[in-house]
Each structure stands twice: as structure tokens, then as C-alpha cells.
């Protein structure tokens, strides 16, 4: 689960890491008020950033500076409501604009290949790390945390020296160690600071001092561990969650909306992807990815059907079940019931094989549901049905 920059920064603060203060504003007026307070504190400028869970907000115009309260209000007004990669901006983060001397990149990631938590650092911060990784991999320093003891202090030091942050050894070690702790304590998949920056600010006596701070923060949480972190589960941003996403989540169904017109209901993630791929290959367009999961009781089947039909673009449904844990007859019964309760009617093609497929076939036949024996056949039938349905509607 992705969380907003503001929540990610809270998690870093909780580990004692240096994160400059921020305010979240949902209206231009609130942004103005936050900016006033910051400017009254002696800062020259504020930065206003769109809070959205997609990347590239900077390029999309979602990050702007303002030098006065008036300007802050105008900028916030422009950003709020903006559409960034399909997401409507509903809130902004307001903070003092930092006087940046140098930017770095630092992230803790769960690395599948090495089966370790890897800390990745680079002296080239504030940029696209994937581009650096692809073009100049030697610019990235990696340190694998001990699988049972976490990041050891000497590992943090080695990373910090490698990043050229030796002049800020103590603070940088604390941040590096804190990133891995943040990951471990919160069951995160990713904790990224980009940029980690040396900034210039006024010291206690007014003269400028340098300080290493986390200017941005991105945290992704392990969905499988949210059950033991109710405080983190509460960070789910409902502003960016579709009603269908919520229903799917609550029903334990994996559901991802796509652009096509053939709704898919499949058991198993791999088979669900395969079904989508085959629909596309056969000239159709899948409307969704949907894995009803292991058990696939009839109530779950009904919920999946409702999810699919909630998309008005859906013109045909393809059900593909390979019974294993899921019993084919139970799925068939669920389909029949869901069919009777559904709001609108679209053609449906069902293919059920494996455990109790024979009983399933009898049930479906009795209800005159179109069935197919093979996956390829089911796909062709669904694509044809969608075409016919679209033609009929036109």
C-alpha cells in the first residue's frame, strides 16, 4: 500500500530522523494560512506540493514555490483539483522552501534477488534513480542489511563514506540506520528519501549552518502485514481509492480496472493475467484483472460479478475457473445466483475445469449458461460475444 508523503514523513520522524516541518492543506485558504506562519518565522519562500500517490507530480506542475501568502494561495488554488495521471489533487503539502546545497538519494528496498533489505545510496539525488541505475550503475552504492540483525553501524558507515557524506558521518549514519528501522518496524517494502539534502539554514546564533535533512519521503507498506499495524492501515488514502477498489479489498478479491469491455473473473493471479493476455491476443480488450482467490465461495462470486458489472463499459463476461481448492460446483452456483440478482445483463461465457467440473457443467447447462471446454475456446467466445454486444448497442 502506498501512503502519502506526509504520512511517510511522520514515520521517519517517529524514528527520530530530521524532517523539516510541514502542513497538509485541503483548501487554498488553509495553504495560505500555513504559508503565512512559515513566512512569519523568517523563511523567504514556501514550497507547495500536490499530495498524490502517483509519481511525476513535479513534471506535471504539482510542485511550486511561493514567496508570499497571496502567491501561496494562488499556487494552491492552481494545484488543488489538478489532474495528475488520472488522480484529482485533493490536498497539498506546505513547507518552508529549503536552501539546498547538495542533493543525495537514499532508499531501503526489499530486494527479491538477494532476499535482503538493500540500502541504495547515490550522490546524485533529486533525480530519477532508475535512470541512474540504468545508465551509470556505478553511481549507486548498495549495502545489504543483515537478515537477522538489520543494518549494522559499520555497514551504515561504509555506505555513507561511499556516498561522499563523510563530512556528515554521524547524521548520515543515523538516517541510514533509521531508514532500515522504519522498514522493519512498519513492514515496509520501500522507504525512499529523494532528495536527502544538505541544506543551509540559520543556526542558533543566526549565522548559516549546514544540516542533512530528508526533504521528500516515499514509503510503500507490505499489504500482507497491515493486519498487525492498524495505525498504518489507517493511512490508506481514501481520497484516491475508487469505491470498487474498496469493495474488492473488503471482499478479499484482487481487482484492477482496465480500459476494455470484457470483464474477467478468474481464480489465481497467474491464470487471471493469462486470461487477460489471451483476450487481448484474440483481438478483445480486458476490462479488468480479477482474481477471486482460493476458496471462491458463492458470496464471493456474487461480489466479483457486481464489481465487474459496476463498470458500464463491460459488454461481456469471461469466467475462467480451474478448480483446485476452489470447487467448480460452488462457483457455478454462485454464478447462477449472481446472474439472477444482477442489475444489468451482459453475455457471459463460463469455463470451469478441475475439481467438481462435472457438477458445475450440469448446473450451468440447466441454467442455459454458455460454457466452453478449453481456455482458448472460452476466450474466442467471449471476444465474439463482446463484439456482438457492442454491435447491438451501437
Amino acid at each position: 500500500m502506498k501512503i502519502q508523503e506526509s504520512d511517510a514523513k511522520s514515520l521517519l520522524l517517529a524514528r527520530g530522523l530530521p524532517v523539516p516541518a510541514w502542513t497538509v492543506a485541503r483548501t487554498p485558504a488553509a495553504a495560505r494560512q500555513a504559508a503565512e506562519a512559515i513566512l512569519a518565522g523568517g523563511e523567504d519562500k514556501v514550497v507547495i506540493k500536490a499530495l498524490v500517490l502517483v509519481g511525476g507530480r513535479g513534471k506535471a506542475g504539482g510542485v511550486k514555490l511561493a514567496g508570499s501568502a497571496d502567491e501561496a494561495e494562488q499556487v494552491a488554488d492552481a494545484i488543488l483539483g489538478m489532474n495528475i495521471k488520472g488522480i484529482t489533487v485533493q490536498k497539498v503539502l506546505v513547507a518552508a522552501a529549503a536552501d539546498i546545497i547538495k542533493e543525495f538519494y537514499l532508499a531501503a528496498v526489499l530486494d527479491r534477488k538477494s532476499q535482503r533489505i538493500i540500502l541504495m545510496g547515490s550522490a546524485e539525488g533529486g533525480i530519477d534513480i532508475e535512470e541512474v541505475a540504468a545508465t551509470r550503475p556505478e553511481a549507486i552504492i548498495r549495502e545489504a542489511a543483515h537478515p537477522h540483525l538489520g543494518l549494522l553501524p559499520w555497514q551504515a558507515r561504509r555506505l555513507v563514506f561511499g556516498m561522499g557524506l563523510g563530512a556528515h558521518l554521524k547524521d548520515a549514519v543515523k538516517i541510514a540506520t533509521g531508514l532500515v528501522e522504519t522498514m522493519l518496524v512498519n513492514d515496509a517494502d520501500l522507504v525512499e528519501i529523494n532528495p536527502l539534502a544538505i541544506i543551509r539554514e540559520a543556526g542558533p546564533d543566526g549565522s548559516p549552518v549546514e544540516r542533512l535533512v530528508c526533504l521528500d519521503a516515499k514509503v510503500t507498506l507490505d499489504d500482507s502485514a497491515l493486519g498487525r499495524h492498524p495505525d498504518l492501515a489507517a493511512m490508506r488514502d481514501l481520497d484516491e481509492e475508487d469505491p470498487t477498489d474498496r469493495i474488492a479489498r473488503e471482499q478479499g478479491i484482487s481487482f484492477i480496472k482496465l480500459d476494455g469491455n470484457i470483464g474477467c473473473m478468474v481464480n489465481g493471479a497467474g491464470l487471471a493475467m493469462t486470461t487477460m493476455d489471451l483476450v487481448k491476443q484474440a483481438g478483445g480488450a480486458p476490462a479488468n484483472f480479477l482474481d477471486i482467490g482460493g476458496g471462491a465461495r458463492s458470496d464471493k462470486v456474487a461480489a466479483a460479478m457486481a464489481l465487474i458489472l459496476s463498470d458500464p463499459k463491460v459488454e461481456a463476461i469471461l469466467v475462467n475457473i480451474f478448480g483446485g481448492i476452489a470447487r467448480g460446483d460452488e462457483v457455478a452456483r454462485g454464478l447462477v445466483r449472481a446472474r439472477k440478482e444482477q442489475a444489468r445483463s451482459v453475455p457471459m461465457v463460463v469455463r470451469i475445469v478441475g475439481t467438481n467440473a462435472d457438477v458445475a457443467a450440469q448446473i450451468l447447462e440447466a441454467e442455459k449458461v454458455a460454457t466452453a471446454a478449453s481456455l482458448d475456446e472460452a476466450v474466442s467466445m467471449a471476444v465474439a460475444a463482446a463484439r456482438a454486444s457492442a454491435g447491438g448497442a451501437a
Binding site: 484492477i256 489465481g268 497467474g270 491464470l271 493475467m273 493476455d277 483476450v279
Partner: protein, 294 residues
Amino acid sequence: MSILVGRETRLVVQGITGREGEFHSRAMQAYGTNIVAGVTPGKGGSMALDGSVPVYDTVAEAVAQAGANTSIIFVPAAGATDAVMEAALSGIATIFCIAEHIPALDMLKAVEVVRRAGATLVGPNCPGATTPGQAKVGIIPGSIHLPGRVGVVSRSGTLTYEAVQAMTDAGLGQSTCLGIGGDPIIGTTHLDALKLFAADPDTDAIVMIGEIGGTAEEEAAAWAAEHLAHLPKVAFIAGRTAPEGKRMGHAGAIISGGSGTAASKTAALEAAGFRVALSPTQLPKLLREAGYKG
């Protein structure tokens, strides 16, 4: 015994008295798997599966008293990593973990313990393995298999069944069918599976099923190019139409930063001498084209 499971398997079922544990234990027993023990803490001393299998409180007892050498874990996610570590540190050589939704950082710790103990873990979030005609350890429907000499390895569950069914329908029997699971941190990778098949005198061809996310298929392909040049090899990758940045059900199935795409995996596999199918049903035909005579 082909790989991992076979006639030598002496299975202990951890969580044998639970609903899932009991259901699948019966199916495994019906297939012919030698279930020698069950473990449910607090039910030690009782009998399971209609009095045919003794239940112990600990895996150590199952090893000492029933000679278990393989374990399958039907314990739910919250206790599954502990069960994995119990098996590994109690002398079990091969461990299958079925549970899904195990926190990745828990599994990372457990995988390290398993490795240090010199044991083999398959899973989590996997359907297990079947050596057709000998033993099945897991939840793969027994009926789809045919004994033979093709090794099948897959990250998926039902997609594996689909591929195996296609093979069986075409008369291509399997040495062992292995589902390694779709989680980011797993005990046995595609590469590990290929190494096992490479060392298995009963395996003459390879079917590898992958999906988007990570680079495990690419790593396996690179190894296969060097060490399995002599074997007919086919593959299928699910998720050609998956959008970037979305988890497709499996915790590990996500394209991020442009890496882990079906296209990059397909390219790597083809470069390594695999024929890559566009549908699981094409696998038998491609395997014949690759020269498999079995």
C-alpha cells in the same frame, strides 16, 4: 524420485487437524503420498485421517518417532514462518509452505534460517509439488498429472494446473510439477528449480511458467543458457497486458520502473534457448518442436 518429492517422501503435515490441512491431507493420502505424521500443538497423542496418522505436538517428535523427512505447512500466515523455522531446525529436509499473505520481512528471516539449516523451502503462497505416480505434496489436483519426463516449474497456482493439464492432454508426462509461489521472498526460485531438474536423471525437458515482476525468470534463463543447452526448454510468461505499477494479485507480480515486464522476460528466455508460448496450450507443441521425443 524426480525432484523434491517421490516414493522416499515421508511427510509430516503441520496443521493436520485444521480444515484445510485435513482436506488436503486426505487428497494427498488418496494420491499415494506417504503421510507419516501430523503436528498440531496440544493434540499430540491423538490420531488423524481416520486413525491412520499419529499427531504430535512438535515436528521434532514427528522426525524422531515417525521418521518424517518432508513437511507441508497448512498453518495460517500468522504462524507459518514459525512453522517453517520449526521444520528446518528440527531436521526436516524439504519444506512446503502453502499459506499466502505472509509478511515479506517475516519470510526473509525464515528463509535465512532455512538456508543456514541446509534445508530446502518451497513457497510460501505456493501449490506444492507432484511427482506423478509417486507422491503429491500440496494442493495441485492429482487428476491433471501424467507420469513422464518433463520438469514443470511455475510461480503460479491455477496457471500451473492449466499448463500441466495441457501437457497431460497432449500425452506429455511430467517428472515433477513444482509451484514455487508468487511472493517476493520465496525459498526456491526458478533458478533453484532448474538446478534441481538439471541434476535429476528422470527429467529430460523443461517447462517454465513465469509472470511479470522481479528478475527471477531472467536469472534462471541466464543459467539455463549455460547449463541446460542440451535440454528442450519451453516457457510461458503471464502478464503481457498488465499495466505498470499495479500488483496483479501476487505480491510479487508488479512491473516497477519499467523492469519485470513480460517482454523483457520473453526476450531473456528466447536468448537462452527457450521457446516461449503465447498460451499455455501451445506448450506441448513447442516442446515437440524443440526436439522433445518423450
